[in-house]
Amino acid sequence: MTQTTSGTATVTLPADNQILITREFNAPRHLVWRAYTTPDLVKRWWAGEKGTVTSAEIDLRVGGRWRYVMTANGGFEVAFHGEFRTIEEPGLLVNTEAYEGIPDPDGHAGLVTVTLTETDGRTHLEMLCEYNDKTDRDAVIESGMEGGMQESMDALEKVAVSLG
């Protein structure tokens, strides 16, 4: 029987404009790479418990674009997109990441560097997310909060009602 729980993610803030996420996986890195970069597999994990991924497009080449859309449990859509900058399978992936729910998504895009290192069949993932400044970084952290989600839903509902 495989051990399913490999560990818990650790989130730290190494600098004003950065978020660093680390996590161990009980699998070799070529498989982590595959789970991370294959649309049908991304669909299965990217939304977490927050909703369902309805679309995952990945054009995995330098300059190629990606776009993920999920329908959150509240019924509204959340979409991110970006561009691949560095691809060194299976150890390094650098891409931009823009949240489409704000004005000028690309102007506030983050740069995400994923490094995978393998030891004894296990993989250590490091995801460094860098933003223009602290304000953008903090907005990303806050967008992940339940309260933030709830507020977006409330705001959306108001807009919907006003349109109706």
């Binding site: 399913t4 818990t8 939304a47 304000t135 339940e146």
Partner: protein
């Protein structure tokens, strides 16, 4: 948009890597400033400046012991930061837990490693 000055809240105070190092050292034990100067390899005025910032947000407290001033960590102001990050961390834990399931499946079918 302009942010609050460094000294006004714990969030900003711990954004500086050296100040986080100071907090790590003070988490081990109470220390005089000379200790910190030596361990950090910084000049005393720099260390004192960082300590001043940390004291202003109440992350560090100080008491006199004879001729020395002893600095210690007060972790209470860090609590909101921890809370703030926890939800974000939770999102990633949920994603990665699902990725674990995907990986278990891939491992079973991985007879031909392409690594």
């Amino acid at each position: 948009m302009a942010r609050a000055a460094t000294t006004t809240d714990a969030f900003n105070a711990v954004a500086e890597p050296r100040r986080r190092q100071i907090l790590d050292l003070l988490a081990q034990r109470e220390r005089p400033v000379n200790d910190l100067v030596e361990l950090l390899g910084l000049a005393q005025p720099q260390v004192s400046k960082h300590l001043r910032v940390l004291r202003e947000v109440d992350l560090v407290r100080v008491r006199d012991e004879g001729r020395q001033r002893m600095y210690r960590l007060n972790a209470e102001p860090l609590k909101p930061i921890h809370e703030w990050l926890r939800k974000y961390e939770q999102n990633w834990n949920e994603r990665f837990a699902l990725m674990d399931d995907v990986l278990d499946e891939l491992k079973e079918n991985d007879d031909d490693p392409d690594d």
